[in-house]
Assembly symmetry: C2
Homo-oligomer: 387 residues x 2
């Protein structure tokens, strides 16, 4: 129940353990085609250049940046957490002239301030994090994409924590480049980074004047392996691709709408329970709180590590610590993919009640579970035990 | 039985399917320590900076190059196959001033010609492939390492196909940087790249004037996650790390010497069988033929794809095609790790005899199996059915 890797579905674990095919075997090639189709569904896109990069989410970030940026290009990055800062670092290493605009941890950007920065900087690429894993902030990106396009810029978004948990609509929002990870709301182990590029972005890549600085992440070559030519580039992580296909199949079986509703419901129950124990959330406005990742404020007088160590030792529950300015001040509670279920919410609230009570934090006994239970009973939607 | 991914041991597949731990969980941290110790054993090194990069072998190559090279640095690369050429490309993208010396596919370099080039170029880094996966050529590197050091250069070697199949002695040979893959003689799925840097190379990295161009592969940061600090860098591919630890444990249980002897014996039997059918090997000198990868010359009049398709369809055997100048002219037959066993040699020879006979290639029936059998019966070592 940390910020990822999330709990992996048994069917995905079983897929991981299947015997290997060669990376040019006709059966594996078919599996790659299926994976691309499934990725297009979860990204809600028709983009041809939709693949899984052979690395974790950060490799996806680097793949997007180094393919779109040539030395000297201007990039505007919106920073309101660790992953925005990482994008700045990656872009500078790619030779970009980077301008960063900042918001405190837990806040989101207003389209107007991004618009002002775009007009000032005139960037080639605008980078923004859709779901900040360090804070649980849910950033609306559709209007910002529109503003970027009006100024002739490309828009690239980080959906590592959002994909499969809240709507990600690449075509409807006109996103040019997107990367994600497998280990959050897709409930697959870490090791692959789904990415997708719009035709406009693909055109920018194919008309580069310089080679992509990373051979390993060079989309101009990788797309020939994922395309109909099947030109060998590097050996694909076969087992991880098995796992990703199975994880994506589970998303299709559940359906995106049902999956988003499940994430939303469990988050509402969790937050109701936390509130009943006097535990608040870092992100102030509810509409900007990611349902799959709740960044809870640690109550005054409660020691971060004492609680997290006990949760792990006594109940086997992992909860993430705060990053950056939130270190020691927040817990990051993930309800992601297969891990987003009522049993997890209930167990965590019960365990946390025990920890906080033993540490002298005062609240009404049993109120947390009652509050969560009320959310579930009032929900119109059928509550599935898992997914 | 292609050039990798090789057949994965059932214990490794079982490890892949274990439930996930967090990448900062104390138990996972212990697993990383164990993996580092095991990697030091297979690399025969005491190098502190010995880790698994979160990508396939080519990511390991890029990690070595981009960490050692700063823009404008001189690098000498020895090219006698596809992977030497790849190293040239990677080094140029890293801003190196690259000089390549070349040998035809299937040949190896003589230390004297490398010495002459080193004295002419005065490179910061010399790069050479220990085991060329595209040709099966086994390059001696110890003397070249000595020559490089005498000229003040670092030596970096590619052991993607050699590690776990033939001796790789990083400390005894005084190698400064090495990368490998998991999917060859370690018999683990592809997805991680073991790397190791000598103290001298680590010093070069820590005293860089510029940032490493790849954030994802930056050893100055990654070593803090693998080191005692456990500073979060990127989410490690958890399941792949389980698999690698199990694969390395299997190497330790067998012992390196026994493992190398097994690879050597099975290769001798395979080549004896091929010779009995009039099928030669691309690498001329036996001492430069990798036992784990035999690059067999396709006999005149025999169509490459006809045979490979039938092997796959009728017997489920994958054999690799030729790369580069060997395309359509050679088969790459892997006997790697768990896949290096008598049953595989026997089945392949029997299947190939059937294919070649049906295509009208003339040779003495049954001679291949008899020749292979003779090698096994004359072997002093106990022949294990598997490993």
């Amino acid at each position: 129940m940390g910020p990822g890797p999330s709990e992996v579905h048994p069917r995905v674990l079983a897929a991981l353990g299947m015997p290997l095919l060669g990376h040019l075997d006709p059966e594996f090639v078919t599996l790659m085609d299926e994976t691309q189709q499934l990725l297009r569904y979860v990204f809600q896109t028709q983009n041809r250049l939709t693949i899984a990069v052979s690395g974790t989410g950060s490799a996806g970030m680097e793949a997007v940046v180094v393919n779109l940026i040539e030395p000297g290009d201007k990039m505007l990055v919106c920073v309101n957490g660790v992953f925005g800062s990482r994008m700045v670092d990656v872009a500078k290493r790619a030779g970009a002239e980077v301008t960063a605009i900042e918001r405190p941890y837990g806040e989101v950007f207003d389209p107007e301030e991004v618009k002002a920065a775009i007009h000032r900087v005139r960037p080639k690429v605008v980078g923004i994090v859709h779901a900040e894993t360090s804070t649980g902030a849910w950033q609306p990106v559709q209007e910002i994409a529109k503003i970027a396009h009006e100024a002739g810029a490309l828009i690239a978004i980080d959906t590592v924590t959002s994909l499969g948990g809240v709507p990600v609509e690449i075509d409807a929002w006109e996103i040019d480049a997107v990367y994600s990870g497998t280990q959050k709301c897709l409930s697959c182990p870490p090791g692959l980074a789904p990415v997708s590029f719009s035709p406009r972005a693909a055109e920018v890549i194919s008309s580069r004047k310089t080679k992509v600085q990373s051979w390993y992440l060079d989309m101009t070559m990788i797309q020939q392996y994922w395309g109909s030519d099947r030109v060998y580039h590097h050996t694909a992580p076969i087992s991880m691709n098995y796992a990703l296909r199975e994880a994506l199949a589970l998303v299709v079986e559940e359906g995106l709408e049902a999956r988003f509703a499940r994430h939303a419901l469990n988050a509402r129950a969790l937050k109701a329970g936390l509130a009943a124990m006097g535990v608040g959330v870092v992100v102030a406005e509810e509409r900007h709180q990611l349902p799959q990742l709740t960044c809870a404020k640690i109550p005054d007088g409660i020691d971060d590590l004492t609680v997290r160590r006990r949760l792990l030792k006594d109940w086997g529950i992992e909860v993430g610590g705060g990053l950056g300015s939130l270190k020691g001040r927040a817990w990051r509670i993930g309800l992601m993919g297969h891990g987003s279920r009522q049993a997890h919410v209930t167990l965590l609230l019960a365990a946390l009640e025990t920890c906080l009570r033993d540490l002298g934090h005062s609240f009404e006994p049993g109120a947390a579970l009652a509050a969560a239970s009320k959310v579930y009973s009032q929900s119109a939607q059928p509550v599935s035990a898992g997914a």
